[in-house]
C-alpha cells in the first residue's frame, strides 16, 4: 500500500487527466482497468457506428461520399486518447493494456502500401519492451503478436517475441512468446528454413515445459503440422468413417489428384 501511495502521488502530479478519476489519492489497479474498459467500449461503439455508415454508403454506391466518410474513422482520435491514458500510468504495469491497444489498433493495415506502423504504435512497442519486459502480464500480448504480422510485419513481430523470450523473467511469458513465434513463422510463407527450424524448437520447448494441458495439446498439433503437413511431404494417412459410417482411408485414393476439404455446413 505504501508503494501505491507514493506511485499515485507521482501520477497525480504528472497527469492532470487522472485527477478527476483517482479517488482519495490512491490509484488502484481496478481503476486503471475500469478506465481501459470504458475507453475501449467507447471506441468499439464509435468504430461500429463508423462501419455502419460506410456500409450504408457502399450500398448507395456514392463514391465521393464513401471517400469523404473514410475520414470519420474514429481510430486516430482514440489513438491519442489511449496515448494520453498510457502516459498517465507511465512506468506502471497499469499502462500495459493501453500500450497493447495502441500497438494492436494503431497500425495501418494497407497491404497495397506496404505495412505502415504509426509512430504511436512503434513508440508503444518500444515502451512495452523497455518498461514492462518484467511484467507477468506480457504473456497475453505475446500470444496476440502471432496474429499481428499483417499489420506490424512478420519480422518486427518475430524480433519483439525474441526480445520477450530472452528478457522476460517469467517462464509462462517466455513459453507464450515461443508458441506465438512458432505460429507466426508457420503462417509466414517467406519464413526461412532456419526460422522454420526455430519454430520446431520453440514448439518442442513449449511441449516440454508448459504445465497447461491445453497448451501442450495445441503445441503438439502445431508441431505435427510443421513436421508432417508441409508442401512437398507425403500427407499423413487418415483412417476414419465416412458420413454413412463406412471406414475408409485417404491412401485409398493414391493415384488420383486429391483435394482435401475440411468443411462444415454452417
Amino acid at each position: 500500500m505504501k508503494r501505491l501511495m507514493i506511485v499515485s502521488a507521482l501520477l497525480l502530479s504528472a497527469s492532470p487527466a487522472l485527477l478527476a478519476s483517482a479517488p482519495a489519492g490512491v490509484v488502484r489497479q481496478s481503476d486503471a482497468k475500469a478506465e481501459y474498459d470504458a475507453l475501449n467500449k467507447e471506441y468499439r461503439a464509435a468504430r461500429s457506428a463508423f462501419r455502419a455508415e460506410l456500409r450504408e454508403l457502399q450500398n448507395s454506391g456514392d463514391e465521393d461520399a464513401i471517400a469523404a466518410a473514410q475520414a470519420h474513422d474514429p481510430t486516430g482520435e482514440f489513438l491519442g486518447r489511449f496515448v494520453d491514458a498510457a502516459a498517465g500510468y507511465a512506468g506502471l504495469d497499469e499502462a500495459l493494456p493501453f500500450l497493447q491497444w495502441i500497438v494492436e489498433n494503431g497500425s495501418v493495415d494497407r497491404p497495397e502500401d506496404g505495412i505502415l506502423v504509426s509512430d504511436e504504435a512503434q513508440a508503444a512497442l518500444d515502451t512495452i519492451l523497455r518498461d514492462h519486459i518484467a511484467s507477468e502480464e506480457l504473456g497475453s500480448f505475446a500470444s496476440k503478436l502471432a496474429r499481428m504480422g499483417r499489420t506490424l510485419g512478420n519480422e518486427r513481430c518475430r524480433d519483439t517475441l525474441g526480445t520477450i523470450i530472452t528478457k522476460s523473467p517469467y517462464m509462462s511469458v517466455q513459453l507464450a512468446a515461443r508458441f506465438s513465434r512458432a505460429q507466426l513463422t508457420m503462417g509466414d510463407s517467406d519464413a526461412t528454413k532456419a526460422q522454420r527450424r526455430g519454430a520446431v524448437k520453440d514448439l518442442k520447448t513449449v511441449i516440454a515445459e508448459s504445465d497447461s494441458e491445453s497448451t501442450v495439446a495445441r503445441a503438439t498439433s502445431a508441431l505435427f503440422e510443421l513436421e508432417n503437413l508441409q508442401i512437398g511431404l507425403i500427407a499423413p494417412d487418415i483412417e476414419a468413417n465416412d458420413l454413412d459410417g463406412i471406414a475408409f482411408k485417404l491412401s485409398d485414393y493414391r493415384g488420383k489428384v486429391v483435394v482435401i476439404d475440411f468443411w462444415g455446413d454452417w
Binding site: 498439433s221 476414419a240 489428384v257 455446413d265
Partner: protein, 97 residues
C-alpha cells in the same frame, strides 16, 4: 463454397481426381437434408461428435474452416488453402503431370 466444389467435381468426373471432405458437423441427422439440398455428392470423413474439436482436425491442426490441401497422385502435399480459380489451376496442373 458448394457451387464451386460441385462444378469442380462435375468437370473432373472422368479424370483421376477426388474431392475428399473432412466434415466437422456435430449432428449428421441435421446435415443429411442439407447435403440433399446442396447436392453434395463427394465423400467425407466424419470428424466425430465433437465437431470442430474432433480428432482429424485436431491432428491436422486445422484452426480455420474451410482448410484445403491439394495432393498429387503420389499423395504428396503440393498446395495448401487454394480457393476458387487457384484451386482449379492447382488441380489441373497436377492432373497434367
Amino acid at each position: 463454397m458448394y457451387p464451386h466444389e460441385r462444378s469442380l467435381v462435375k468437370r473432373l468426373q472422368n479424370e483421376p481426381f477426388a474431392l475428399i471432405g473432412v466434415n466437422s458437423d456435430k449432428d449428421l441427422e441435421k446435415l443429411r437434408p442439407r447435403m440433399e439440398e446442396e447436392n453434395i455428392t463427394w465423400r467425407s470423413f466424419w470428424n466425430g461428435p465433437k465437431g470442430t474439436g474432433g480428432p482429424i482436425s485436431a491432428q491436422w491442426n486445422v484452426r480455420g474452416w474451410p482448410t484445403i490441401y491439394v495432393l498429387d497422385k503420389q499423395g504428396v502435399i503440393r498446395f495448401k488453402n487454394v480457393r476458387g480459380e487457384a484451386m482449379d489451376e492447382a488441380v489441373d496442373e497436377l492432373l497434367a503431370e
